[in-house]
């Protein structure tokens, strides 16, 4: 029989003002296996924690249940306390009676208290069946592979090399730089991108730690954090790179608005990158019209590409610098020039006579050719009238879209993408530059269209994160992995099919075919558990007996109470 301690947190007034904590404590004392139940003002405070610790020792508890806030933020803390008090941290169970109870039932103290009791009972019943777990360690190859040689990839690579880590930079083009090399100046500061590129390159060129692979494509990835094997195709010949971490910096690409506003047909309709080229050659047209949100913020591609407005503002000003008499019009749906520096750019543009006309998706702008020049017919939402603007050049500000090969990369690395094909980080706030797949990191526009500055921040962050396992030299795998009970397993292979990470295989063990799970490869999603027909597959910390017991507990405390 387990010796369980239950600790209910007041969280100041957050819980206690709604849930009758003492009542829950009294109830908890009646639960099977509970030897002590107590409450703290703030369980996570110093005295709260030490109270729990002493109680564990005094009552030699072997299970701890804390009913407080959410495990997503506080579980590590309480697990640590358990360890310090000398019991395995996996013998701890968290019950959420704040976010999932007091805060959302603020007007029903009575029912909220009853619910809290039931939740605690469920937690206790699970805790009783928890088992101590040992976290497994595995070694780490002190090498990083960066996929993509644009600003993101370069920055990350440079940072890794600077940390004295062997780094392979894999670029599919014939030259390093990506978009950076197709853009001459970077707003809002208008400094030359060339300089930035050179400084990053010099960081790499000098070091024997840096290995640059041009005209190289990712072909295959195997293994897991610390022990990947990355196969690339370096113009024709195959190369296998053992690596500890992988950074995805594949960037994005400019959307080609074929067919829109006569793009591709009408001479003079171009994209931002075409314009960048013109400007870099010192050519500045007399009459320029920018059309914003071409192919974005519309059905099918709802997102805002975030950088196009600023790019147009930057280029409008550059045109005026090169050709002060030039007429520049920006036709937009909203100008997104967020942040002080960018807003300043917008102010300067309007001061220097850039015309801003606002159109709506409902009344699309038309571009036609009329005796020698382009005629842009726009319905201005502000004036509520149709305006014709003549132009030599019409710049179509199109969004960045995901690389068409991002799908292959996602499959090879087993990392998710959103529906637009951009990669999805593990958690937007908590783990912004990591993937759920340990040892694989994300930065730059591959995740989301980003400005140079954002790209670099992300790249440095990703490099820093990637360096952690490499510098530590070992990775610890959280013990929520799955295992198969050899006595029950019928080797039907459902788990193998279900596993998104190829972590399960059917192997022969003393003459019998059974499923085997590779701990390091298992991410603990439990897909195999649900797929298993006879309950042979189990996930540590979420066994079917544990969850089954929670259901039984709810039945007992909710339904049998009814009668």
């Amino acid at each position: 029989m387990a010796r369980t301690g239950v600790f209910i947190c007041h969280c100041g007034h957050n819980i206690a003002s709604i849930v009758a904590v003492e009542e829950v404590v009294k109830f908890a004392r009646t639960l099977p296996g509970v030897v002590v139940a107590d409450h703290n003002l703030y369980s996570c405070s110093e005295e709260g924690l030490s109270a729990i610790k002493t109680s564990i020792k005094q009552n030699n508890l072997d299970r701890v249940v804390v009913a407080a806030c959410t495990p997503r933020t506080h579980e590590p803390l309480f697990r640590k306390i358990c360890e310090e008090a000398g019991i395995n941290k996996y013998l701890f169970e968290f019950v959420n009676i704040r976010e999932h109870c007091s805060w959302i039932h603020a007007k029903e103290p009575g029912p909220a208290t009853e619910k809290a009791k039931r939740l605690v009972a469920m937690g206790v019943s699970k805790a009783a069946l928890l088992e101590p777990q040992a976290e497994t360690e595995s070694s780490v190859t002190p090498t990083a592979v960066v996929i993509g040689g644009g600003l993101a990839g370069l920055t990350a690579a440079a940072s890794l090399v600077a940390q004295d880590i062997d780094t392979h930079l894999v670029e599919q083009e014939g030259e390093i730089g990506g978009h950076l090399s197709r853009v001459s100046v970077l707003a809002p500061e208008f400094d030359e991108s060339r300089k930035l590129l050179d400084s990053l390159m010099s960081g790499l060129a000098g070091s024997e730690k840096a290995h640059i692979h041009l005209r190289s494509k990712l072909k295959d990835v195997h293994g897991f954090v610390g022990n990947f094997e990355v196969t690339i195709d370096e113009h024709g010949k195959e190369l296998k790179i053992p690596a500890g971490a992988i950074l995805v910096a594949t960037g994005a690409q400019e959307f080609q608005p074929v067919g829109e506003y006569g793009f591709g047909e009408l001479q003079g309709t171009i994209t931002q990158l075409d314009l960048e080229k013109m400007l870099s050659e010192g050519k500045a047209p007399n009459r320029t019209v920018f059309i914003q949100c071409v192919g974005s913020r519309q059905p099918g591609r709802e997102y805002c590409s975030r950088i196009c407005c600023n790019t147009s503002l930057k280029n409008a000003l550059r045109i005026l610098d090169l050709n002060p008499k030039a007429a520049v019009t920006i036709i937009h749906r909203d100008i997104m020039s967020y942040g002080t520096a960018w807003e300043e750019l917008y102010r300067r543009a309007s001061e220097r006579g850039v015309r801003f006309l606002r159109y709506a998706l409902a009344n699309p702008t038309k571009v036609t050719r009329k005796d020698g020049s382009l005629l842009v017919e726009v319905y201005d939402e502000t004036l509520a009238e149709r305006i014709n603007v003549e132009a030599d050049v019409v710049v179509l500000a199109t969004p960045m879209v995901s690389r068409e090969n991002s799908g292959d990369v996602s499959k090879m690395l087993k990392v998710p993408r959103d529906k637009y094909g951009f990669f999805l980080e593990a958690h937007v706030k908590l783990r912004p530059v990591e993937f759920a797949t340990d040892g694989v990191f994300i930065c730059g526009s591959a995740r989301w269209p980003s400005s140079a500055k954002e790209v670099m921040c992300q790249a440095l962050a990703a490099a820093a994160k990637a360096a952690i396992p490499i510098k530590r030299g070992k990775v610890i795998i959280e013990a929520i992995t799955a295992w198969a009970d050899p006595d029950k397993c019928a080797a039907c292979g459902n788990c193998v099919t279900a596993c998104p990470y190829e972590a399960v295989e059917i192997a022969t063990q003393d003459g019998k075919q059974i499923a085997k799970v590779n701990d390091a490869q298992c991410k603990g999603c439990g897909a195999c558990v649900a797929a298993c027909p006879n309950d042979a597959m189990q996930q540590r910390g979420f066994t079917t007996r544990q969850l089954g017991a929670m259901i039984d507990s709810l039945v007992k405390n909710a339904l049998e109470a009814e009668q």
Binding site: D487, C492, N494, I506, G548
Partner: protein
């Protein structure tokens, strides 16, 4: 004659069939040269189930068995899960008699190759199923609870099932089947139906061997109808992966929100 067909034509080492003996009809396994009494195809033994019991012991030998359409489908379900090797299991196609088809309410009675018997016409839809589906749900629940109340937990339905491949059945566990003792109640039958939803070949052996006379085949047919309606899935096709294990890739995704 069966042995000739099995041993000489198909090149089997063993033959599994059912024949007369001791005033009864039962299963028999013979090797080449061994005698065998009168074969009786009118007694519906589930030969695939019998095969799976002895399969682990036959080593690399080839075994030929009398194979109705349902046996054929059961073998397909086992093969695609890597549980039997098609090269070691040879089929002697047996087309069921009209009576058998009627008794099984069988909608798919003709094996791909017919060695014995004449192909018969499929039976119509399961009358009980249609009757039940036409009922208001309260009635339906009454019907099934009354049926399940008779369950004596003998496990005949799983033991005799050709596509139940687990030695240790989850229905023997308390984990999911909460009810102590007998009858095991609703979860027992629902879980079993779910487990079979992507593999049941509607051979009807569960119903035939149920001492309580619960219309289990009808329940299976209902599930099969559901799988068809949901995923166009029909079991017994070696190439078809269970829809419960395939992903939705290529299928349309709903509109999303990403900013967290």
């Amino acid at each position: 004659m069966l042995p000739e067909l099995a041993f000489d034509k198909l090149g089997a080492d063993l033959l599994l069939a059912m024949c007369e003996g001791h005033g009864n009809v039962g299963p028999i396994v013979i090797s080449k040269g061994e005698k065998m009494a009168k074969v009786r195809t009118d007694v519906p033994y589930q030969l695939v189930t019998i095969l799976t019991n002895i399969y682990p012991f036959i080593g690399q030998k080839k075994l030929a068995l009398l194979c109705r359409r349902c046996d054929e489908k059961a073998l397909a379900e086992l093969e695609k899960r890597g549980l039997v090797d098609e090269k070691r299991v040879l089929r002697i196609g047996l087309a069921c008699s009209a009576d058998q088809i009627k008794a099984c309410r069988c909608s798919d009675p003709v094996p791909s190759v017919v060695h014995i018997g004449a192909p018969g016409k499929p039976a119509g839809e399961d009358e009980l199923m249609n009757k039940l589906l036409a009922m208001p749900s309260e009635e339906r629940l009454k019907f099934w609870t009354a049926q399940f109340r008779k369950c004596n937990k003998c496990f005949a339905c799983t033991l005799n099932c050709p596509v139940c491949f687990c030695d240790d059945c989850v229905l023997e566990e308390r984990t999911f089947v909460a009810e102590k003792g007998i009858p095991p109640g609703m979860s027992f039958h629902l879980i079993r139906t779910f487990h079979l939803s992507d593999k049941c070949v509607e051979c009807g052996e569960c119903e035939r061997s149920c001492p309580a006379g619960i219309p289990l085949l009808t329940l299976r047919k209902m599930a099969a109808k559901d799988m068809k309606a949901l995923y166009g899935f029909v079991s017994g096709d070696k190439k078809k992966v269970s829809p419960l294990l395939t992903t939705l890739e290529g299928e349309p995704m709903e509109d999303e929100c990403h900013e967290c």
